[in-house]
């Protein structure tokens, strides 16, 4: 159960008052008439889906009914910050303080095994392009 701080109501409320609405900061193509199928498809269907830090939009559906954003760890489920629409996150996946904890898991307690480390570029050195 999440306990979420609504940045408008300024109160922690239970998850059931809210509704998740997917990835935050998605930009609708500015000139739809001159957008390729590739760009439209990317905008409509392709999402980040990271294992670790994720910025996502939520709505306080049975509270103030306003939309806002959450920075959350999708592995530990820890909520790192909430912020109103129009603002940028202060914590991102590039942040050295959060980096090491990404994918950190233990083998028992319902988790699978140690998480993959997609951010580890050394492993993908041979990847051209």
């Amino acid at each position: 159960m999440f306990y979420i701080l609504c940045p408008y109501c300024k109160e922690h409320r239970e998850e059931e008052e809210f509704h998740p609405r997917g990835q935050a900061h998605l930009m609708r193509p500015e000139d739809p008439d001159n957008t390729t199928d590739e760009e439209w498809g990317d905008y409509l269907f392709f999402r980040d889906n990271p294992r670790g830090i994720h910025h996502e939009m939520w709505v306080h559906s049975v509270g103030c009914r306003k939309f806002f954003n959450i920075t959350r760890n999708t592995v530990t489920y820890e909520i790192l910050e909430t912020y109103p629409m129009g603002e940028q996150p202060t914590i991102t996946a590039d942040d050295p303080s959060v980096r090491h904890e990404q994918g950190a898991q233990v083998a028992d307690g319902g988790w699978q095994t140690v998480g993959a480390r997609p951010e580890n570029t050394a492993l993908n050195e041979e990847t051209s392009s």
């Binding site: 392709f46 095994t113 998480g115 492993l123």
Partner: protein, 416 residues
């Protein structure tokens, strides 16, 4: 491979069942394979099995970061059916259903496939229109499916509440008699044992941490046990597919969500079939051990934690009590979650990628257990030939740019 039979069971009884052969080897990774399958769930193991058995590709490794079948394969509620709306999906799931029918014999392993039928309930006029449309589409595709009345529902499942006292009275249902359930662990183990007997190396506790890619071609994988080479790599990693794709520099239109399920204390036989309802949002069947097996929809947020939130469980149980008021005092024994890879059109992705030799089989989301043999079969055919099998071809990643989606939200939203 030691074949199983009634006679063998009697013979081993004399040795107090202490001399059974191990079901598969635990080999050291070789330097090089013809094909690597990433992900030792049901789909990955089935792919390896059919590659070796039907398509003559035996130098194959299945790389699994945990234990075999420990992902969604061991966490699902085992519903097997094929009553999907569109021709492409109908063909894929019905191909699988055909394989299910002979699977225990083929694998010499009892997967306990039980064709006890599936009811999809309708509670509104629109539900009933959708059900009629889907049943008609199914029949045109040769999939067994019929519309039944509330009285017929009650004959099939006597404990269900079809009265008008319900908040959403039952107005009818679709009924697929040939659908049912199977034992998930046995499916993973049966395919694993079969694949191993044909020479496939099953590498457990081995995690793929990156890909070797040069000039747009895949050359192998990096793992925590060293590099392994192969010019054909098939990723079958369910909820973690997006993480793997990112390592290869590919984007997939997937979102990984928690999907929960729970089982009750064991009860005497009370349910005959599988009952699901999109509208009140839940489904239930009874396992051979006697526990009620219960599930519903995903938790709405992204999650890789293999657990979800309590409100989802509460809503699920409300739905079960709505359909079967007599279950209101049944106690629940266990609850868990899996990471499901949901796709925007509720259909899987079986596809080549921009990296030559690198294939993905994913996006099965909440409903891929039923497809395990069919998916493995057509994916193996595709990897062996280097061309997507005709049944798999419509499920290419391209469809999210061409717009040729296969929208199965009606058949696959709550129903798995």
């Amino acid at each position: 491979m030691q074949r199983y039979s009634g006679f063998g069971l009697v013979k081993h009884a004399f040795g107090h069942h202490e001399n059974w052969e191990r079901q598969w080897r635990n080999p050291e990774p070789k330097k090089q394979y013809d094909v690597i399958i990433v992900g030792g769930g049901g789909h990955g193991l089935a792919t390896a099995y059919y590659l070796a058995k039907e398509f003559g590709v035996r130098n194959v490794a299945v790389i699994e970061k945990g234990w075999l079948g420990g992902g969604n394969t061991a966490r699902n509620t085992t519903i097997v059916r094929s009553n999907y709306l569109w021709d492409e999906a109908g063909r894929l799931y019905n191909h699988s259903l055909d394989l299910w029918k002979g699977l225990s014999q083929d694998l010499n392993y009892n997967v306990m496939f039980s064709q006890r039928g599936v009811l999809n309930l309708g509670h509104t006029l629109q539900d009933m229109r959708d059900i009629q449309r889907r049943v008609n589409a199914n029949r045109l595709n040769g999939i067994d499916s019929e519309v039944v009345t509330p009285q017929q529902v009650k004959e099939i499942e006597p404990e269900i509440d079809i009265s008008n006292r319900a908040r959403y009275p039952i107005m009818g249902a679709s009924w697929q008699k040939s659908a049912g359930v199977a034992r998930h662990d046995a499916v993973a183990w049966g395919f694993a044992r079969g694949a191993d007997s044909h020479g496939v190396d099953l590498l457990q506790n081995t995690e793929v941490t990156g890909f070797k890619i040069r000039d747009g071609k895949v050359l192998g994988v990096h793992t925590n046990r060293g590099d392994i080479e192969a010019h054909t790599v098939g990723c079958v990693a369910a909820g973690n597919s997006g993480v793997l794709a990112k390592m290869a520099g590919i984007k997939l239109p997937l979102e990984s969500h928690p999907l929960q399920a729970l089982v009750s204390e064991p009860l005497k036989p009370i349910l005959n079939t599988v009952t699901m309802s999109n509208h009140v949002h839940g489904y239930v069947s009874q396992s051979d051990k006697g526990d009620l097996v219960i599930g519903a929809g995903i938790d709405g947020y992204l999650g890789y934690g293999q657990r979800g939130s309590y409100p989802t469980i509460e809503h699920t149980l409300q739905a079960i009590v709505e359909m079967f008021p007599m279950f209101s005092r049944v106690r629940m024994n266990r609850q868990w979650g899996g990471i499901v890879d949901t796709c925007p059109d509720a259909c899987p992705i079986l596809s080549k990628t921009d990296v030559k030799g690198l294939y993905f089989n994913c996006g099965w989301g909440t409903g891929g257990f039923k497809a395990t043999p069919g998916s493995g079969h057509v994916f193996a055919a595709s990897l062996a030939k280097g061309e997507m099998h005709p049944i798999a071809a419509p499920f290419s990643i391209d469809r999210f740019h061409t717009g040729a989606l296969i929208d199965e939200h009606g058949a696959a939203g709550v129903a798995h």
